[in-house]
């Protein structure tokens, strides 16, 4: 009994830490609608800065707590700076485009932190006077954890006061509800956004700094916290502080008790919680329908146009060029890279199909890529299937998974839907990771090589052919009556419904198709690499797909193709050229984001159209 009570306190302490970080993210999202991937990096910076400041200040209460606050303020300033020089310039870009920019920041911060603080984990000093523990029910409980349990609700209270009782807070709440209206009433949105970013980043920094007496400061903190933070924010309801608090509490406690029954639950718990909550409550626990969203949705996306003749010829020439390229490029390595690129193009195109024409972002598209890869690999391993039938199984498996997961995901909208895809992807990932007997766990499935008849060149042609066919088929479908209906429900669900186009069916079918095509890419990937690991359906792969689509431009059909080529090409070159490829890649992404807010293909189209008018 005592143990269970203490376990509940442990849950509270984790919940409190989690809430601090999540509160910042939810405030930022509520007002700016930015999916801030860099929030974890700000948290990490908070911890590192606190380490540096506290160890340089004199020991004692003033030194420690002063250092923590200074670090939080510094991170707040960094956040405000990010908003000023980067995000402010791209608010008008298509939805989610800012995610690309924040991802660039993540990469840059990872290398800067390594350069500034070194590779070794740092152990910060403990809080003065709170080193020890108190006896509760005959068991010892750390004093600092007790303080932490208090800090969470304290911050929540202060924030609620700030939002209820100040003019600034009123404006923030108004902007969370209806951004356009606030602007129409003459409020300076720029200043509001910067200040919100300052506050949100400060909270992230505070969350990180307060971990100093608890945990080591290390280079993995950013990615370790970011998904969990997003889950808390989404489960609570985007923009809702009490929601985030409740969600943090729910996850903290479920985790503390969950590990008593299932010690391996940590892997998947938060995603199970998110899936259940979102299926039951599509806007999280306390989320509200946003007025602003309805207003934005009535502005139609640019109409997809048939490719001009010149572009068709260009595409055909590029394809032919790709097919005969191996004859002119020396060595097998060119083949490997070209194969990788062809796979990436199909994968990105499949995601674009639901993101662009479908209007549903997915943060978990790797699930279908990975399920395709595992489907092919498992068939090859357990039934000794030759390559071709195994490859046929890939879209089948992925399509089935897409039908199952999509059934739930397409009912939701916006970030909620995207996060539900992430939840399902992580559940699939944890199955691949944990079901060692079937999938080999994280040691993966080895020996999935192409049949003897397929040399590297043959396999490349097969990949190129399937990738080109798949991409063209997706393009054809986007232009078909089905594609028109799909775009109609994206642009205005209500009007589409009125003329008999049911959103659910079209979105669902589109989701299954996208999943199946991602599965083809996954199957090809399995045989290209010779082995499949859970990384095939892990978050970084989903993020890669998102980056490719966003980089290329979500509003054109050529976007994902260009984006995939640019991203894989850049990555491949930079990794070989420098040890600090993350810094350079992140920097290049940031430059591209600022230069081409419509994406690469979007920029080309703009140029083409302006030429046409002239």
């Amino acid at each position: 009994m005592e143990n269970l009570l203490l376990q509940a306190l442990n849950g509270l302490a984790s919940a409190s830490s989690l809430f601090l970080v999540a509160s910042g993210l939810t405030v930022i999202f509520g007002v700016t609608r930015i999916v801030n991937f860099a929030h974890g990096s700000l948290y990490m910076l908070g911890a590192y800065l606190a380490f540096s400041i506290v160890t340089h200040l004199p020991r004692g209460h003033a030194g420690f707590w002063g250092g923590v606050l200074l670090a939080a303020l510094a991170v707040g300033a960094i956040g405000a700076l990010l908003e000023l020089v980067l995000l402010r310039r791209i608010y008008r870009a298509p939805e989610l485009f800012q995610l690309l920019a924040t991802f660039g920041v993540v990469l840059v911060v990872q290398d800067l932190a390594l350069l500034s603080w070194g590779a070794q984990d740092l152990l910060g000093p403990r809080a003065p006077g709170l080193r020890g523990s108190v006896e509760l029910l005959g068991l010892r409980f750390p004093l600092y954890e007790l303080v932490l349990i208090g800090i969470g609700p304290l911050v929540l209270g202060l924030l609620l006061l700030l939002f209820k009782c100040t003019r600034w807070g009123t404006l923030v709440r108004a902007a969370t509800q209806d951004r356009e209206m606030v602007g129409a009433l003459g409020v300076n949105q720029r200043w509001l956004f910067t200040s919100v970013f300052f506050l949100g980043s400060l909270l992230a920094g505070l969350g990180g700094a307060l971990q100093l007496p608890r945990e080591s400061v290390n280079l993995h903190m950013d990615l370790a916290i970011i998904t969990e933070t997003f889950v808390v924010v989404v489960v609570g309801g985007l923009g809702s502080l009490p929601g985030a608090a409740l969600a943090a509490l729910l996850i903290g406690e479920l985790h503390a008790f969950g590990i008593l029954i299932f010690p391996k639950i940590t892997l998947v718990l938060v995603f199970l919680v998110m899936a259940v909550v979102l299926v039951i409550r599509p806007r999280g626990l306390f989320g509200k329908a946003q007025v602003a969203q309805a207003a934005v949705a009535s502005v139609a996306e640019p109409v997809l146009m048939r490719a001009p003749k010149q572009l068709k010829w260009l595409g055909l020439a590029a394809l032919l060029g790709a097919a005969v390229a191996p004859a002119y490029l020396a060595g097998d390595y060119a083949l490997i890279v070209l194969t990788d690129m062809a796979i990436a193009v199909l994968f990105a195109a499949s995601l674009h199909f639901i993101m662009g024409p479908g209007g549903m972002a997915s943060f978990g598209h790797a699930a279908y890529f990975g399920i395709g890869a595992y489907g092919a690999a498992l068939l090859a391993k357990w039934f000794a299937a030759p390559m071709v039938p195994a490859l046929l199984a890939a879209p089948l498996c992925a399509g089935l998974a897409g039908a199952l997961f999509g059934f739930f995901c397409v009912r939701l909208s916006g970030v909620y839907s995207a996060m539900l895809t992430l939840a399902f992807a992580q559940i699939a990932w944890s199955i691949a990771f944990q079901w060692v007997e079937l999938t080999g766990g994280d040691n993966g499935i080895l020996g999935v090589w192409p049949d003897a008849w397929a040399t590297k060149l043959h396999y490349y042609w097969l990949t190129l052919g399937l990738s080109a066919a798949g991409t063209l088929l997706l393009r054809r479908m986007a232009m078909s009556p089905f594609g028109y209906a799909l775009r109609a429900q994206r642009d205005n669900a209500l009007r589409a419904e009125a003329i008999g186009i049911g959103g659910f069916e079209f979105r669902w079918v589109a989701f299954v198709l996208a999943a199946a095509f991602a599965g083809v890419a996954g199957g090809l990937f399995a045989f290209a690499k010779g082995s499949v690991f859970p990384t095939a359906l892990d978050i970084p792969r989903s993020v890669d797909a998102l980056l490719m689509v966003l980089l290329g431009g979500v509003q054109t059909l050529a976007g994902p193709i260009l984006g995939a080529l640019a991203f894989t090409g850049l990555h491949e070159q930079l990794v070989r050229a420098t040890d600090y490829w993350r810094l350079v890649l992140g920097g290049v992404i940031l430059l591209l984001v600022l230069a081409f807010p419509q994406g690469l293909a979007g920029a080309v189209r703009q140029w083409w159209e302006s030429k046409g008018r002239a």
Binding site: N3, L6, Q7, N10, G11, A13, S14, Q110, D111, L115, G118, A119, Q120, D121, L123, G132, S133, L139, R140, F141, P142, Y144, E145, R214, E215, S216, N218, H220, A224, H255, A256, I259, L260, P263, T266, L267, G331, D332, Y333, I336, V337, Q434, G441, D442, N443, G444, L446, G447, F525, K529, G530, S531, F533, T535, A536, E572, V575, D579, W581, R582
Partner: protein, 403 residues
């Protein structure tokens, strides 16, 4: 500590220049080694590894290279992704024309590279991946591994654990293959050595995301007499902090894998636990001639002390140099044959690659942790020779496919 990050830049800047053959020796074509590792994902272990690798290559070349040919290394970063490692392997073999592949830190990357080596019939010298699968269940003709495996290090610790009076054990391990196999071997071997032990609790926090407070509480609730710990890195630090504050380790024996390695012990500073039975590397106390030479050279070159990663990087180069000297060819099949039973002088003494399973006999140091001058180190340690902690040949044969 902060200096390391800055130090690395200058070091890496120099690598390209140093690894390239000197102009004077331009006639002798360099022997190229392709090295792949998770540099950006695991810098804490791999920076010291890479530094020592560079040092070893410099030393080999300063001594005239291999039969007059200098060694040259092409490093690649797989960022912790097996598929990237496989792509780099393709590039290194096809474009860079390397003689052999080496490296690997994560087990899945090691396995992917091993499978690539088998498919492409190239030699792969795995330096660090600890998984038993790489030489046993997924072992193949072309893959060899240097570092003492999960099984070997568990066997070393079980020897000590069996001497303890404790009967009720609790276990904590990161939830992935390494943690799972460590727990499996520990239980199996300890049960065999001491049939009356029981295992009262197991915790498997996700790697890098331990909820230390809850995990410590869950272990304490089962009131074990002893604890077997497999967590390392940030998980270990957080586990130790919470465990110490809550008194988890008081009046309890703790047996812990890898915790004596400076990579994991040093970040703990003056909070390093005392009296834990660990495998590790007491770098400041090993005064054998080979180790002293290595330590002095490393300090001179990098103005820093060696970590275990440094030993692994240095010895991988030593093994490869010995192989190339012995085989005097770059033909893979002949290299593989020469690698079987290859003997070389490692920093820890003579080590050989077993012909039966391609595992090296490199051992580890077993001892107890202690605090000295405000930092953790090891006492009462001994070198456990890897050769003595491997199953019999008959057992190995059942564990490994032929080849």
């Amino acid at each position: 500590m902060v200096g390391i990050g800055f130090g690395r830049r200058s070091v890496l800047g120099g690598v390209a220049a140093l690894a390239a053959p000197k102009v004077g020796r331009a006639q002798a074509e360099a022997l190229k080694i392709g090295e792949i590792n998770s540099y950006t994902a695991q810098p804490a272990f791999l920076q010291p590894y890479r530094q020592a690798w560079t040092l070893a290559v410099e030393q080999v070349n300063a001594a005239g290279g291999i039969h007059g040919r200098p060694l040259q290394t092409v490093h690649r970063d797989d960022a912790g992704k097996p598929e990237d490692a496989v792509r780099h392997a393709g590039e290194l073999i096809n474009s860079e024309k390397v003689v052999l592949l080496a490296g690997g830190f994560l087990s899945n990357v090691g396995l992917a590279l091993g499978d690539f080596a088998l498919q492409n019939k190239r030699l792969f010298v795995a330096s660090e991946p600890l998984t038993d699968a790489i030489v046993w269940s997924k072992g193949n003709r072309y893959t060899f591994r240097l570092r003492a495996s999960t099984y070997m290090q568990c066997a070393m610790l079980v020897e000590e654990a069996a001497k303890l009076p404790a009967k009720k054990w609790a276990l904590v391990a990161p939830n992935y293959e390494y943690g799972q196999s460590a727990v499996r071997w520990f239980k199996e071997l300890l049960k065999a050595a001491k049939p009356d032990v029981e295992f009262v609790a197991e915790q498997f926090p996700a790697l890098g995301r331990i909820d230390a407070g809850a995990t410590v509480q869950a272990l304490a609730a089962s009131s074990p007499e002893a604890i077997f710990n497999v967590t390392f890195g940030a998980d270990l630090t957080n586990f130790v902090r919470q465990g110490a504050t809550r008194g988890l380790f008081e009046r309890r024996a703790v047996v812990s894998l890898l915790t004596g390695e400076p990579e994991y012990l040093d970040p703990l500073g003056d909070e390093a636990p005392e009296g834990w039975i660990v495998t590790g590397y007491p770098w400041d106390q090993i005064n054998t001639p080979a180790h002293t030479l290595f330590r002095d050279a490393y300090r001179r070159r990098f103005n820093d002390y060696p970590r275990l990663g440094s030993v692994v990087g240095y010895d991988t180069v030593q093994a490869i140099a010995a192989l190339l000297r012995k085989a005097n060819t770059t033909e893979t099949e002949k290299l593989v044959d020469a690698m079987k039973g290859l003997n070389f002088g490692s920093v820890f003494g003579d080590v050989s690659f077993r012909a039966q399973d391609h595992q090296s006999t490199m051992g580890a140091f077993v001892g107890k942790t202690v605090l000295r001058n405000g930092r953790g180190t090891m006492v009462d340690w001994r070198y456990a020779d890897g050769a003595k902690y491997l199953p019999s040949d008959a057992v190995v044969q059942t564990l490994r496919p032929a080849g």
